[in-house]
Amino acid sequence: MSDPFANRGNRDASVVNPRPAGTAEGNHHSGPTRPGHSGDPFLIGEGMRGGYGKADILNGCTLAVEKGQIAVIVGPNGAGKSTAMKAIFGMLNLREGSVRLDGQDISALNPQDRVKAGMGFVPQVANVFPTMTVEENLEMGAYLRGDDFRETMQQVYELFPAVADKRRQNAGELSGGQRQQVAVGRALMTRPKLLMLDEPTAGVSPIVMDELFDRIIEIARTGISILMVEQNAKQALEIADIGYVLVQGANRYTGTGAQLMADPEVRRTFLGG
């Protein structure tokens, strides 16, 4: 910044809390849901077009997952992978296109209501409550539920035994991999029908990554659809039922994981040979 005194009051932590404010739109209300189209996949974000400012980041991209399947979105930096996830979760207003889940058009719902409709979202960063214990993190995941959630919590602990041992420890004190497990566990507490993961293996070691992918397969086997963005394209496509390669906010290649891995064009351009 050219002005050395710019913003200086905001750097004084004795009067201003340096924690960033929330960026999600908290007070916009949901519109009505409409019936979806017949023959829709379990989840489909169709012809999505939109962005944050004037320029569109998504240029008519379409993503779909069937029940209990794993869909992986890969692509170069700036291709709009995370933005597509946010659009499906309702954190981005679409100019065109629609999002349909389980036979309902949910395009007009805000993120909280999409959680109620059966979506679980794990953001890429800041995806746990650092000064709260593992158990409290899971409790907050179940905040919307009025019923007894102890059974779900037990299931999460069975899925991630490593964090079960640390349930009284603050989530901020855990290792990167364990923190990701808590984040996924938190999202599972609402018993979602669709779990969306934004780069779940960012910043974790290869061993932890393999472990995390195994858990994700396990989650999908229980009938939960998975939609995830991944930086580690090769490993992710290996477990994918369907893969999407996005470029500049539009679909470039679509196919099963194996097909994409076998496609020489995809290999050369996106998977590094």
Binding site: N17, P18, A24, G26, Q112, P123, F129, T131, Y143
Partner: protein, 333 residues
């Protein structure tokens, strides 16, 4: 015997007054630290919220006294407290609606909100003076002492007396109860955990279905409740004067920062640290030194009482230099 006399003198002139004052500061600092942790700014209007709330409590106390209602040996003001807190919280919620909500909606930089709170401070300040005036008001009634000096001397036969005023005992009891209640609320209840979750990560709290408006409202109500409590106890213990409450903002802030802003435990520790330093450094230790067999030439008073407020700042500067996050690692890192 002299050693006992020295101990009693220390208790009487340092420990008891400082503990009561520390409890009052801690209650005030808890409110500041909650607002800092959850609403992300230092609320400069907190001292005047204390003043306004206390003024309301005094008016209600006078009303009760006029009706002939008392609280036996306890001050009538305690009866007036719940309604006083409710009315002041209502004003705080209105202030949030009229002032702070706008800045949240336009996502203003927090320093802008700090400045807005300075404005609110001046308005509250004026409002308090309009409501109750600028004079010093004594509103403590009921029994004055739990133990008075002659009683203590008769009981123990020591030459040095010890007094425990009712207001001091009440301050300590109420402060302990409200701190316990606050921690139980924050750590055990669903609403309290939602507040902590919001303070940790606003976006994730929103995605978990926590209503941000509800968290903000709860924060104002709790912080205001603590402020009115602190203000009333301080007023009962000493006296009410609008200007004193404007000044008490300084040690309250020092306590919150020294303890670590955003850390409730830190606010309590900071409150007692500031209070004990203020009292210990301005107390003439001559008498105690004499009991211990020394013959000091002077009063052994390190600072004149006029410099009381400066002590908080010296501690503040030292802590910020040595341990900028405060004694308990707060949110400011």
């Amino acid at each position: 015997m002299d050693l006992l006399n020295a101990l009693v003198a220390i208790l009487n002139f340092v420990v008891i007054p400082a503990a009561a004052y520390g409890a009052q500061l801690a209650l005030g600092a808890l409110g500041v630290t909650l607002i800092y942790g959850i609403l992300r700014f230092s609320n400069f209007a907190h001292g005047d919220t204390m003043a306004f709330g206390t003024a309301i409590v005094i008016l209600l106390t006078w009303g009760l006294q006029a009706l002939g209602i008392g609280f036996g040996p306890l001050p009538t003001a305690l009866l007036a407290l719940p309604l006083g807190i409710a009315l002041t919280a209502a004003l705080a919620l209105l202030t949030d609606r009229w002032v702070y909500r706008h800045y949240r909606q336009v996502r203003a930089a927090p320093i802008v909100v700090v400045m807005a709170s300075v404005g609110v401070m001046f308005v509250m300040n004026g409002l308090t003076r309009l409501v109750i005036g600028v004079d010093e008001i004594q509103f403590a009634d009921g029994a004055r002492f739990v133990i008075s000096v002659p009683q203590f001397k008769a009981m123990t036969g020591l030459t040095e007396g010890l007094a425990l005023r009712t207001t001091q005992a009440i301050t300590l009891v109420i402060a302990a109860l409200s701190v316990w209640a606050l921690f139980a609320f924050l750590n055990r209840t669903r609403a309290g955990k939602a507040m902590r979750a919001y303070a940790d990560n606003e976006d994730l709290a929103l995605l978990s279905g926590i209503d941000p408006d509800r968290v903000v409202r709860l924060t104002w109500i709790i912080a205001t409740g603590l402020a009115v409590l602190a203000g009333t106890l301080y007023g009962l213990d000493k006296s009410f004067k609008a200007f004193n409450y404007f000044q008490i903002l300084l040690p309250v802030f020092a306590a919150a920062i020294v303890g670590g802003l955003g850390s409730p435990l830190g606010a309590i520790a900071g409150g007692f640290l500031i209070a004990f330093s203020e009292v210990a450094l301005t107390y003439p230790w001559k008498k105690i030194a004499e009991y211990l067999g020394f013959e000091p030439a002077g009063l052994m008073q390190m600072l004149g009482t006029e410099y009381k407020l400066a002590i908080s700042f010296v501690i503040l500067i030292v802590v910020l230099l040595v341990r900028p996050t405060g004694l308990f690692r707060g949110k400011a890192y």
